[in-house]
Chain length 225, copies 3
């Protein structure tokens, strides 16, 4: 295990992104707990779970066990800090239009790029690395929503898994082209967050599965009526 760890030097950047993603996902978990009126411990557990599920899934899938979120105390500290902040200043947070979705979008972007980075550092190919980035991004929110018995945002949302995949793909492609890591990472995170943010603000919608586009016939019927 020590050998693996020496061989895979992740560098400062992915860990910083990972901790940042952990922080904002923990904010989103605690904000969801306030919304569902959980008690204080329930809120801390939910923020911890939302913050660490994506990263733990990623680490298990690439064989990096025990996962960083369990082994490195900073992940726990950052989660508890975020949970405490929400519980103390929730009234300020409520002035934001939709705090769960906002933090969720930032976390999605940070985890998508850090997940792709870590997968590349573990010598995965381009496709698995991009998929793992996507999975790290969507994992935390998926488990958070499942635990409060809600159909996860990733299934309901306009642009979500696709935004994470796009952000992770930028990191993977940048790596293949030899673009400096910091540049590709910033571009990937901005693309992911930008897509998600625009989808939320402009209420971009995709056709519902199994429904026809409003056809000429439907338009005519509408006109006559």
């Amino acid at each position: 295990m020590t050998v693996t760890r020496i061989a895979v030097d992740l560098g400062v950047l992915p860990v910083a992104l990972d901790l940042g993603g952990t922080f904002v996902f923990a904010l989103s978990g605690a904000a969801a707990a306030v919304k569902h009126r959980l008690d204080v411990f329930g809120a801390l557990v939910l923020s911890l779970v939302a913050a660490s599920s994506g990263g733990i899934a990623r680490d298990v899938l690439i064989g990096a066990v025990p996962p960083a979120a369990l082994e490195d105390w900073r992940y726990l500290a950052v989660s508890l800090l975020a949970g405490t902040i929400v519980l103390h200043w929730h009234s300020a947070l409520e002035r934001l239009r939709n705090p769960v979705q906002l933090f969720d979008g930032v976390g999605l972007a940070l985890f998508a790029v850090s997940g792709a980075h870590k997968a590349l550092a573990f010598h995965l190919g381009p496709l698995p690395a991009a998929l793992l980035g996507m999975l790290s991004g969507i994992g935390g929110g998926m488990v958070r929503d499942l635990l409060v018995a809600k159909i996860p945002t990733v299934l309901r949302a306009e642009i979500y898994a696709v935004a994470a995949l796009a952000g992770a793909a930028v990191v993977v492609i940048g790596n293949a082209l030899g673009v400096p890591s910091a540049v590709a990472t910033t571009a990937g995170a901005l693309l992911c967050f930008g897509l998600r943010f625009m989808a939320l603000r402009r209420a971009w919608r995709l056709p519902v599965a199994g429904e026809q586009e409003p056809s000429a016939d439907a338009a005519k019927t509408h006109w006559k009526a």
Copy 2:
């Protein structure tokens, strides 16, 4: 990792079964998405998750990371193909009595036997191999149902986990007796699908947990009334 892969030559059969199971579980996921009126991306995500969860769980549990469903592009391609088919021809599918359950039954059978095969190839004993076959079979449908906030079929259904276990057991026993792999696999898959199909068509029911069989007393009361 390369060493493991050379040592564990799965052969063509289990991979073909795996891809077949992936395809039909993706069909079931997309059909469930149409039923729950998810949008197009949500439907593709749900079909991807339904198609890959069982196999990913199996691979993580036997230590075959990164899992085939992430590493091999054909799994992704087959899932997206199945999702696209459902989204385009869903009205034809609706003529089937219950497309989610039908595809689910075929996927259950294919994953149960391919899971047992892969576990044996990784030198697991007979009991863990049969359990892993069962788990690969039931995993995808379980996660699909959880994500649309439904109590999973595996808990509600007449004969489901037991059918998967029976199919996987045939592969394990066939392997122990030296029966040719293709024969045991076909027999196992047919047994699993047959059991599940009969349970659905004939509405086989088991007594509800904690209820008495209609007793002599109950019959008498009924008679008098």
Copy 3:
């Protein structure tokens, strides 16, 4: 794999605790199935899942694959035995005030200490070992509740994850101080179960996340009205 197993001699104690936890979590799963009117197979599947999820998650996270719950036939036997007991004597069980919660509390305590033990045996540090103990404890109940589409106890309950963490911490601290294993284990399990039991019986409640304590102002308003 064989090498790992020789190097990590778990001893009799953790395995006994693990089997005990498996037994009572299986009881809680089958009791939940009776409550939700699942059929007999559904009840056995739910008791199996509740009994093994926490331990499987723990084993995957420390890299001990295939997990003990799949490889060792005693786990399966103990789960099925517990399920069968509940299905046959459920009317006796119903005289208990809340059988699901009672068995759940015992399982929480047993898995929290056995999880911490196993993590230490795999040379994890104190923090990851305590977190893994907590996770083993809460995992089974979390998955059980998710499968019957209920917000998990761990989010709703007064003292739950904290009780598991406290029990696991006693084992980790005891190990660091050189306290005999059996003493630290017993103390940890009793602390965890005691905390959980008192929280249930005395209906200990924590403030709901995001609500103010009844303030002086609120009291005045109340007084005037």
